[in-house]
């Protein structure tokens, strides 16, 4: 009997991961296993991040995870230091005023700013 597929496919598309990686100009060739491993690591990272943030959400007796809970989580964990810019900038109305210390968030900002780009409405219900 063949192994059952996971109920949810939580693997990120390897091609997309590779594209993001190639934004770093130092990156040359990438073995095919790399985006697969990064996808798995990403999944685990997001789970950790969500779980830790959720603790804060619940400690505040809230049922909705908000940006503030995430900010608090980022600032309280050394592991999430690389997200500090995201925490600091996330609540600004416009992403054009990006005073970032690390350039990761600015790369994401650039992508969001391109004129004519219509951001997909995030209407997928949870």
């Amino acid at each position: 009997m063949p192994g059952q597929k996971r109920k949810y496919n939580v693997r990120f598309p390897p091609g997309r991961i590779k594209k993001i990686m190639q934004k770093d100009t130092e990156v040359g060739r990438i073995a095919s296993a790399v985006p697969i491993i990064i996808s798995k690591a990403l999944e685990m990272f997001l789970r950790s991040f969500l779980t830790m943030t959720c603790k804060i959400t619940q400690s505040r007796n809230s049922r909705v995870m908000s940006i503030n809970h995430m900010k608090q989580c980022i600032h309280s964990e050394k592991l999430f230091d690389f997200l500090k810019d995201l925490a600091d900038q996330a609540s600004t109305a416009s992403t054009s005023e990006c005073k970032c210390q690390s350039h990761f968030y600015s790369i994401i900002c650039e992508n969001a700013q391109v004129p004519g780009k219509k951001m997909k409405a995030d209407t997928v219900p949870l």
Binding site: L46, C54, L86, I108
Partner: protein, 172 residues
């Protein structure tokens, strides 16, 4: 629904599923927070990549000069060595090391398992396609005596190796 070539966002559907699985029932996520999670995902990939590259560049510098491997010390004289890379492809082993540097050691075990599963899957596919190729050859060479069959197989292996240069998993 054409995607812009520069889209650095990861698919919302996958992010949503991960959120759903990670959170207990009854807890929802604000729209703003959902967007931030998606951005955090992309930033994680960039961050991991920067570690991968940093290690890789250091590795190149050290090994091109035939110095003993030293992860911590950066010998200034290493800059004088030729930058000819012995290895040009980032591999899974580099990712494992990067995760350690990023202090995500607890990810290593599951990542190794995922890598093993992936390798097995790839091996299975490779064997299946080799098998098909063999069968085709047997049919076409049926009239000839099979004296060249072994040689052909070797050639196929080499060609496959060249074709999959970029895709090759380098064993660590």
């Amino acid at each position: 629904m054409a995607e812009r070539p520069e889209d650095l966002n990861l698919p919302n559907a996958v992010i949503t599923r991960i959120i759903k699985e990670a959170l207990p029932d009854g807890v929802n996520v604000s729209k703003e927070a959902r967007k931030a999670i998606s951005q955090a995902a992309s930033i994680f990939v960039l961050y991991a990549t920067s570690w991968l590259v940093a290690r890789f560049v250091l590795y190149e510098k050290l090994y091109s000069g035939n110095l003993p491997k030293c992860n911590l010390c950066v010998d200034p004289s290493a800059n004088n060595f030729a930058m000819k890379a012995k290895r040009k492809t980032l591999n899974a082993g580099d990712v494992m090391s990067a995760m350690e540097e990023m202090e995500f050691e607890r990810f290593l075990q599951p990542l190794r398992q995922a890598l093993e599963a992936y390798k097995k899957g790839q091996k299975g596919k490779k064997e299946a396609s080799e098998q098909k190729r063999k069968e085709k050859k047997n049919i076409t060479d049926e009239n000839d005596k099979s004296r060249d069959e072994e040689e052909d197989e070797h050639m196929d292996d080499e060609q496959e190796g060249e074709n999959e240069g970029e895709e090759e998993d380098v064993e660590n």
